[in-house]
Amino acid sequence: MVFSSLTFLLLFLPTLLFFYFIVKSDRWRNGVLLCASLLFYGWGEPVWILAMIFSTAVNYYCAILLDRTDSPGARKGFLTLGAAISLGFLFYFKYAAFTVATVAGLFRLKVAVPEIRLPIGISFYTFQVLTYTVDVYRGKARVQRSFARLLLYVSCFPQLIAGPIVQYSDVMDRLGHRRTTVSGFIEGFRRFVRGLFKKVILANISGLMLERTALAGTGAELSLLGAWVSAFLYTLQIYYDFSAYSDMAIGMGRILGFSYKENFDHPYASLSVTEFWRRWHISLGSFFRDYVYFPLGGNRRGAARTALNLMIVWMLTGLWHGASWNFVVWGLYYGVLLLIERFVLAGVLPKTPKAVRWLLTFLLVVVGWVIFYYTDLSAVKQHLLAMIGLGVRGGALRRLPLVDRKLLDVLRIYTVLPLLFFIPTLPVRPALEARLGRTRLSEAAVNTATAALLAVSVVFLIGQSYNPFIYFRF
């Protein structure tokens, strides 16, 4: 099920909240939430519920077994078993076809590439269930004796499909007892509506604008400015799309009594790439930091090892996003940028004017999204070349025009809308809220705005066909 669908908004959410708040005990609330989560996940592809339950069950038993023994070897064995099965699942569904195609391509083998459908959200729930087993192994979390509670942690619908990745240790206490408050309900609801509006209006309209521009590999005429504008529009779309989902997830979590960590913190306001990754998909960065980078030794084994560790982490980050070489290149791109910032520019950056740092960072991020957008590396190359005004024709480089007809068309139709859409990516709202404070008048204004945003979002949803989130495919 999709948050931005009428089924969710008109039936699922209100019905769930009705039953959730009508029962008082945590046990019953967990029951309601678990049933709702399984229905939510199974709504599109019921068969994949079994895969999620299986992955959870494996880790449930592995954690119990490793908790029962004191032998370090056995503990490690059970941890490895749980991780291997979960990651094996992930590998099969997400990377098997990619691996076969790559190997076949390398050795020029004629092998049929298997067509495997990817269960939705598998990357997210696999990582979540892994944090549980690893946290139990590390002694950071108590073993969960109730399978239903563990399944609730893994399947809890707000964050199940597209994150944020919630680490077990962060919510284990709330699985047993949650406190719901009126304030939490109000703030959660507002956050949810804000996310809905971001998705339905800002992300989807950014996507519409992007579709109108000339994109590489489509045979359309590219131009220097056109290439930058389309990259800029995708930069907007992916931010609004993904952060909208996180907003809705965090908002719903708050209504239900969970407290999920923030996943975005105005990343496009960053003054360095390092800062960008502290503000973008924070839960994924935290996961890789805690469960990959630190175990590899982090930065405590010298500069060379730190560099290697960073590159491994960023390659894996890229691969996590999808079984395609462009994601690997995208991950390595950020790995290299972070290494440069850490080892080359460490002394220069603080002395550089903020405006220059911001602009450079933003441009690098925009370039990164170009690599991310195209799964075809030749299209990536074509688009990147276009961003420096070059194109390839007949094997030779040629200069591209400054503008193309599609760009003029977009500018004619949407005028300054792309620039207007950029404003909310900056920390304007928090600053405004801080300035206004909480008065009766501001409360009334926020309430009115919330109701209006909800109404507008619902109206826009009616005319839209299926509009899944970009991060669903990861």
């Binding site: 590999g217 359309a220 599609k406 139709i413």
Partner: protein, 480 residues
């Protein structure tokens, strides 16, 4: 309670949502309705079954139903469009203008020869002259390269897509036969399909049989559309030209009121230095190819066709098509181009039905279906055994279209000429005797069919079992 007013607002919002949801389930029309503003049949309440739930179809259709059954839906859609227009979004006129501009822009973008072309631009720009002598020189049994030799095993690549050739590809027609050929860069004729005289005779007899089942002024129209690899080999400059003499040979074999068209001639202009008018990811054609063909056929009948740009189009982004092999994709760089696919929306609202048994019409189905990422987006996918389109025009004539999947992009352009268009796909996998009801002649009578169109691609055409065997039997055999 703290912040009671804010809580009340949140509570009321949720209550309103629930009320709307319950209202939709309890009080709205669950049947088929036409959206005038969107020119499509709205999603009825889906049938609940174990299989539909397990496959996810029920949920998909349920989502569609909730959206389509929303109170005052048309007003809401209009409001959102107007609101978008206020913020710089596009009105319907903008949409049309942008679609036209995009097409023109694409034409400009490919004015220069594609990089893969090794042919000088002058040669590629004047294919007709180059092709003419070769066309004249085509022997009935031309020595030929195997189909697809130059561009890799393209026909074989389609074998796995579920709609590959229904006929063995013959490359020698023999005396009295006909061929469809490509002309290589060296001027050599490469026969792609050959139609032996005996096969043509069978088809001619079958066409006459069908004509005799029509009213006295009824007409038969027959096309044999080339599959897309042929178009692409011209478009990308790997071949100099193409041609077909099926129309001439077959036309001589049939009597009056039967018209055979040469699609290679109709589309000839479109294949050189123009956008690809066929699927680039699989073997089908795009609406523009179908539109040009219908227009040419209409002109032959003295009718005035509707201009391509008069129709509305929906662009389906990230359209998958059915990919060729990796090597082919690298060679012709079509994967990215296959992402965008346009489907046509008829000029007037068209109501569409599945005909299960002669008079059993249910349920209405989409003219197009966004859920498909393959050729199934056209006319809402494969629907059998019969589809009926009530066009909204009042011409006093009805047509029957017998064809393979190529008719999906074709039929929308036929709507201005007929009141009702009945369609069927006679291939075995589509034409199940358990569901098809009576024979075709009965349908012709019951639906008052005036004209019949045979619309197939080269993979299903003359030599295949459909034309050689099934169609004659389907006309009168009744196995209910």
């Amino acid at each position: 309670m703290k912040r009671p007013f804010s809580f009340a607002v949140a509570y009321l919002c949720l209550l309103s949502l629930l009320t709307l949801g319950v209202y939709e389930l309890a009080f709205t029309d669950r049947g088929e309705r036409l959206s005038q503003s969107e020119n499509r049949i709205l999603q009825p309440f889906p049938a609940l079954s174990v299989s539909s739930v397990l496959s996810g179809r029920f949920m998909e259709e349920f989502d569609g139903f909730l959206s389509d059954a929303f109170p005052r839906r048309d007003d809401m859609v209009r409001f959102s469009k107007s609101a978008l227009a206020l913020f710089g979004g596009e009105s319907e006129e903008d949409e049309n203008a942008a679609a036209k501009a995009a097409l023109e822009a694409e034409e400009i973008a490919v004015e220069e020869p594609a990089p893969t072309a090794e042919v000088p631009a002058e040669t590629a720009a004047e294919p007709a002259e180059t092709a003419a002598p070769a066309e004249a020189a085509v022997p009935a049994a031309a020595p030929s390269a195997a189909p697809g030799t130059e561009s890799g095993a393209e026909p074989e690549a389609l074998a796995g897509d579920g709609e590959g050739p229904d006929t063995e590809i013959i490359t020698e027609a023999g005396e009295g036969g006909a061929s469809l050929w490509l002309i290589g860069l060296d001027g050599a004729v490469e026969v792609q399909e050959a139609y032996p005289a005996a096969n043509l005779r069978t088809v001619a007899d079958m066409l006459e049989l069908y004509r005799d089942a029509l009213p006295a002024d009824g007409e038969i129209h027959f096309i044999n559309a080339p599959v897309s690899y042929m178009w692409k080999s011209l478009h990308y400059g790997r071949k100099l030209g193409w041609g077909c003499d099926l129309d001439e040979v077959l036309q001589d074999m049939v009597g009056e009121r039967i018209y055979i068209y040469d699609v290679t001639e109709i589309l000839d202009e479109s294949t050189y230095n123009k956008p690809v008018y066929s699927m680039v990811g699989d073997h089908h054609w795009f609406p523009m190819g179908a539109c040009m063909t219908v227009a040419a056929m209409a002109r032959t009948q003295g009718l005035v066709p509707t201009d391509y740009y008069e129709y509305l189009y929906h662009t389906h982004y990230d359209f998958k098509g059915k990919p060729y092999t990796k090597e082919q994709l690298e060679a012709i760089d079509v994967e990215a181009a296959a992402r965008n696919c346009q489907t046509v929306i008829p000029v007037t609202p068209v109501d569409s039905y599945i005909v299960k048994r002669l008079t059993e019409l249910s349920p209405s189905v989409y003219m197009e279906d966004n859920r498909f990422v393959q050729y199934g987006i056209y006319l809402g996918g494969r629907r059998g055994p019969y589809r009926l389109f009530v066009t909204g025009y009042h011409t006093g004539r009805n047509a029957l279209v017998i064809g393979d999947s190529f008719y999906h992009a074709f039929v929308p352009y036929l709507t201005p000429f007929y009141d009702n268009i009945l369609c069927t796909d006679p291939r075995d996998e589509m034409y199940n005797y358990n569901t098809v009801g009576p024979n075709i002649s009965t349908y012709i009578r019951e639906y008052g069919i005036d004209d019949i169109y045979f619309v197939t691609c080269t993979y299903t055409s003359v030599n295949g079992y459909v034309f050689q065997d099934r169609l004659a039997r389907h006309l009168y055999e009744d196995r209910r």
